[in-house]
Assembly symmetry: C2
DNA sequence: CAAGCTATCAAGTGTTCTATTGAATAGCGA
DNA sequence: TCGCTATTCAATAGAACACTTGATAGCTTG
């Protein structure tokens, strides 16, 4: 068959995208980019790798069609290439949780003690009723790049200092980058210590956005 | 941070699944398994690789949680581990088409001249009206493992011999493994040569099944 | 229980991938 | 234009991977 070769070429082409997901370093970059577009060295710093290395990985992700690349003056911004690309990353991540015990184990190890959660639907209801405060505990730039409607930004670092901003009687819901981000876990633990009733949203901003970014109906 | 290490472990665990998609050989195996469960050496033969090699890849896919493994007497059957795993493969494939020109180019090269297509919705309507014949041109075992309701099985190899089974006046719709499977393309070309009006369904059985395997309403 | 088939294992080899280093380039502002 | 910063390129060493070959283990059948 002459076509055996052509078929092989086809699978090789598809595997280019597969390879993009095969390195932990690249996945970490994707995870950060799911929040907001960023420059090479922000990404390098946030993921704890050298700039040159991050640059190489980002180029690989770009070549695989997962990221767009735009020059902004002296820096280069990378961003997810579309909702389908973002969705693919989230699906891969979710599937790995569902099928690989090791992922769950590693997640527990990283996230520490589990805290109470609240689902998307429930949160929307409670927001509509107005009896919870929704707090985005990610760094401020990520909040600025997009957030759940009705949330207020209190980065985890500033949480203790700004506890007084939270009405004492009300329950607090914290959210962050996603189910594997430690910020919301930590925020809830600290809020509990400070005597607040608190839960974390079971996933984060990218999942919310991809679900169509539902907004609470105002009463 | 002590947790930097834990975070790294988490991404490494997720990357196990990513790595599964990083080899063209493995993707070819997945593509075959999307049709029906199979034994190691059927897969090896169908994908043109040695049994030992196929076995290794299948074990890797199994370790990544994408496949289940069941022993059946002297042979071992591998199958997709669930709808989410299958869906992930299809999403990856589709995303690669959407974002990588090279995939489209390779597909055209492999599939040959494009033929007229019909979408899922349109096909359902036509089936309900009863004015098309739907033909599954995959090998018979794959038809047996699952097919679109209302289709009849005529493997591509037998098409010429069995042309008389097709009512002369009616349009024929052929489908096969998916958008990148050459069978339906080839079938339509041959049917056209034989004087039949024919189109191919724009995707194949796995996509149909994953879409909930809609069935035509009988009049 | 021996023969035969299927699948896996183990070891070896050539290739590809990853991270590092240091140098080169591109844009910006003085 | 010069110097500064951000990014990329190029070369390299080490690790991981893919495919081959030959041996081994599990089941079935005679």
């Amino acid at each position: 068959m002459a076509s055996a070769q052509a078929k092989q070429a086809l699978f090789e082409a598809i595997a280019v995208m597969g390879k993009a997901f095969s390195s932990p370093r690249r996945l970490e970059l994707l995870d950060l980019l799911a929040q907001a577009p960023r420059s090479v060295d922000e990404l390098a710093r946030a993921s704890g790798q050298s700039t040159a290395n991050a640059s190489q990985h980002l180029q690989a992700l770009h070549a695989a069609g997962l990221l767009t690349r735009t020059r902004n003056g002296t820096r280069v911004l990378y961003a997810f290439a579309g909702e389908d690309a973002l969705g693919l990353w989230l699906s891969l991540r979710d599937a790995s949780v569902a099928h690989l015990g090791e992922v769950e184990r590693a997640a527990r190890e990283y996230l520490g003690e589990e805290v109470e959660t609240i689902g998307r639907e429930d949160l929307l209801e409670r927001l509509a009723k107005g009896d919870v405060v929704l707090v985005d505990v990610r760094p401020e730039e990520e909040f600025a790049a997009g957030h759940i409607e009705g949330a207020r930004s209190i980065p985890l670092e500033e949480l203790e200092r700004r506890l007084s901003e939270l009405p004492p009687g009300q329950e607090v819901v914290a959210y962050c980058r996603g189910p594997f981000c430690a910020y919301a876990h930590e925020a809830v633990r600290r809020l509990n210590e400070a005597g607040h009733a608190a839960r974390r949203l079971e996933d984060g901003w990218p999942e919310w956005r991809l679900a169509g970014a539902p907004a609470p109906k105002h009463a």
